[in-house]
């Protein structure tokens, strides 16, 4: 139920004085584990047995994973998972760990069956999280000392930050699968995503490669994503050329604020709107086409302005093939040069 091996490590490594306080906590933790053990055995062997009953024979606990916040050890198959990241929530449900999820943050709106709470991943309230007595917390960033403070309560935390590459996204799904006892289904999910994306790419072919595109994240001011970002890499699968790449020297981590006149004079042939969702800025192809001075852009003239599902376009989870599909449809429709 708790972070037992982690506690032991602290005891071994911590300076003597700090060990004393840790020992007190460990004592409490051990008692707690004993209490749980009477109802539901949680040592390695029997958890393996119980997880094989749930249909994932490959799962074994305790398991130690390397997440963005370093080594995370999960003592037993988690049964009370709290997700503070919309992408992690989607990952958890995709790998079949949905039944183990007890609470997700306010921004996790997919799948609809996820138990949405008012928890926040940006400004996490440790006590509010602890109220769900989680045995695993997944978040996309370690804000407000989340990892340390939940660690003090013996709760393992996995930080799964915004994926930089497509492989990162797959790795995160695999890791969440192993952390929750669904290794096989996670592998299955990733394989499914890969084959669907490969089929889409094959269908689109390469005869449209080299089309220039502008990926909009915000319109006031104009924020864009370069080809070094996650979505940029997805677009690069089609061989598309990103007009924001020239602006990347401004060291904004791949998300430069672009000058409107530059966007227009770069004459992109495709425009993707990552800001067309209700809470993302509410832009639409019609609004973009009506912007003063934009009517001469090739993408506007050929109606190649695509409003994307903002959630799908801003997450790096199992719905990635949908994003690839949306780009493929736009690329296929675009007039070839």
């Amino acid at each position: 139920m708790t972070h037992r091996p982690g506690r032991r490590r602290i005891l071994h490594r911590a300076p003597f004085l700090r060990a004393l306080s840790a020992a007190t906590a460990a004592l409490a933790a051990t008692t707690f584990i004993a209490g749980c053990g009477s109802g539901k055995s949680s040592d390695g062997a029997s958890s393996r047995a119980s997880s094989s009953a749930s249909g994932s024979p490959a799962a074994s606990f305790p398991v130690t994973l390397r997440a963005a916040n370093g080594k995370v050890t999960i003592a037993a198959r988690p049964a009370h998972i709290v997700s503070l990241s919309p992408t992690a929530t989607e990952d958890l449900y995709a790998v079949g760990a949905g039944k183990q999820v007890v609470a997700v943050d306010a921004d996790s709106d997919y799948p609809a069956s996820a138990p949405v709470t008012s928890l926040s991943g940006l400004t996490p309230n440790i006590e509010a999280i602890a109220k769900y007595s989680p045995d695993l917390v997944v978040a996309s960033q370690d804000s407000g000392g989340l990892v340390d403070r939940l660690g003090k309560l013996g709760v393992p935390v996995m930080i799964e930050p915004a994926a930089a590459t497509i492989d990162d996204a797959y790795t995160q799904i695999d890791r969440i699968g192993r952390a929750t006892g669904h290794t096989a289904q996670a592998e299955h999910t990733v394989a499914g995503m890969k084959s669907r994306i490969a089929a889409t790419l094959k269908r689109a072919g390469s005869h449209h490669s080299g089309l220039s595109y502008y990926w909009e994240l915000g319109a006031s001011p104009y924020y864009s994503a370069t080809s070094s970002t996650f979505v940029g890499r997805v677009a690069s699968l089609f061989g598309l050329k990103n007009v924001a790449d020239k602006a990347d020297k401004a060291s904004d981590g791949g998300y430069p604020q672009l000058s409107q006149e530059y966007i227009v004079s770069a004459k992109p042939r495709l425009i993707f709107l990552g800001d067309s969702g209700k809470s993302d800025g509410g832009q639409s192809p019609a609004i973009v086409s009506a912007r003063p001075g934009w009517s001469g852009i090739p993408a506007v003239r050929s109606k190649a302005v695509i409003g994307l599902d903002g959630d799908v376009a801003s997450r790096w989870g199992p719905r990635l093939p949908q994003l690839v599909d949306a780009i493929a449809r736009a690329v296929e429709k675009a007039p070839s040069r």
């Binding site: 306010a106 921004d107 926040s120 991943g121 940006l122 400004t123 915000g218 319109a219 006031s220 001011p221 104009y222 924020y223 020239k246 602006a247 990347d248 020297k249 401004a250 904004d252 430069p256 604020q257 672009l258 000058s259 409107q260 006149e261 530059y262 227009v264 004079s265 770069a266 004459k267 969702g277 209700k278 809470s279 993302d280 800025g281 509410g282 832009q283 609004i287 912007r291 003063p292 001075g293 934009w294 009517s295 001469g296 852009i297």
Partner: protein, 343 residues
């Protein structure tokens, strides 16, 4: 003789201000990420003058960039910069305090709350509603501060403290609202940082009437502010009503600042630095400081925005970063070279 010399000095300063503004407009029209040739740009601009027919050689797309994107931004920059500087100078006169600008009297915090509420409540419909909400919020912020301050007691310092308290309160409410709706954080912060990047002729036309009214009201009261600078008692002995004048000037400044904030978000420093620089040039009479602040403020913000557009082109810097980076050292310089700061 001395009067005549002073008058010719004032005329010279107005000439300098107008030339400065004109040069700023030219620089603003020439500079930009699209890389239009200066000669073609100049030809295209001259072509717009009556009786001048020039072929600029700009493509239709370049033409659209110049006239639909760049020029509205330059004009909007002039209006916003002029409005913020005029409001700053006006407030400094009303409060006899050189450190006041529109952000201190509930205007910025009110606008911030208004914009945040619009973005959080309306979501996709927000982009058109944000300016109106910011405008209303800005005016409401000042109105609340004024009512609280006036009922709190006579004098300017009560009013100022009320403005500070109301600002902090509104900012806290704004933070709370934003906290409840973390999805909108990026949009709200982009707005708070201030930007002219989405400028259109439509926006320019929308704020112009409010600005014109506000400017006329404030400029007409320069003489009264000069009298009040000596003290409320002296003002009363000359038949003025200090409270009424303060109300009118505050209302005018609030209107000017609100229309600026509605289209540009929160742009700092202009309202403090420009009036100070003007005082350094032209002395402390508000009859001169107010109109010169309007002109120099317009030119300064055009230049700041040109820098924001070109320093890291084709990327852009938030204009608030430029005004603060340039404004703070300039402010320190002005303070150091000014023997005594009188307002």
């Amino acid at each position: 003789m001395i009067r005549a010399a002073a008058r010719s000095r004032t005329v010279r300063l107005y000439a300098v201000a107008v030339v400065f503004l004109a040069c700023a407009v030219l620089v603003g029209a020439m500079a930009g990420a699209a890389g239009l040739s200066p000669a073609a740009t100049a030809a295209a601009l001259l072509d717009r003058l009556p009786f001048v027919h020039l072929h600029s050689g700009l493509s239709p797309l370049d033409h659209a960039v110049l006239f639909q994107i760049r020029l509205p931004r330059v004009v909007l920059g002039a209006l916003v910069g002029g409005a913020l500087s005029l409001a700053g100078a006006g407030y400094q006169g009303v409060f006899r305090n050189p450190l006041v600008d529109s952000s201190l009297l509930g205007s910025s915090a009110g606008a911030g709350l208004g914009a945040t509420l619009a973005i959080v409540a309306l979501g996709s419909a927000a982009s058109s509603a944000v300016p109106a909400a910011a405008f209303a919020g800005s005016l409401a912020g000042v109105a609340i501060a004024y009512l609280v301050g006036v009922t709190g007691g006579p004098g300017t310092s009560t009013l100022l403290l009320a403005g500070l308290a109301v600002s902090l309160f509104l900012a806290a409410v704004q933070t709370y609202v934003l906290q409840r709706s973390s999805q909108d954080i990026q949009q709200v912060y982009s707005w708070l940082l201030g930007s002219l990047s989405a400028a259109t002729w439509h926006q320019t036309g929308e704020i112009l009437p409010y600005l014109a009214v506000a400017a006329v009201v404030v400029l007409l009261h320069g003489r009264h502010l000069d009298v009040l600078a000596v003290g409320d008692e002296e003002g009363r002995s000359l038949g003025l009503h200090p409270g009424r004048i303060r109300l009118i000037v505050v209302a005018g400044c609030a209107l000017a600042a609100a229309s600026a904030v509605a289209v540009s978000g929160l742009i700092g420093f202009v309202g403090i630095v420009v009036p100070h620089a003007v005082r350094r040039l032209a002395g402390t009479s508000y009859r001169v400081v107010l109109p010169l602040s309007l002109l120099f403020g317009g030119g300064s913000l055009i230049l700041a925005d040109a820098a924001a557009r070109t320093l890291v082109a084709p990327a852009e810097l938030p204009i608030g970063v430029v005004t603060a980076l340039v404004g703070s050292p300039a402010f320190v310089l002005i303070l150091r070279t000014t023997r005594s700061v009188r307002t």
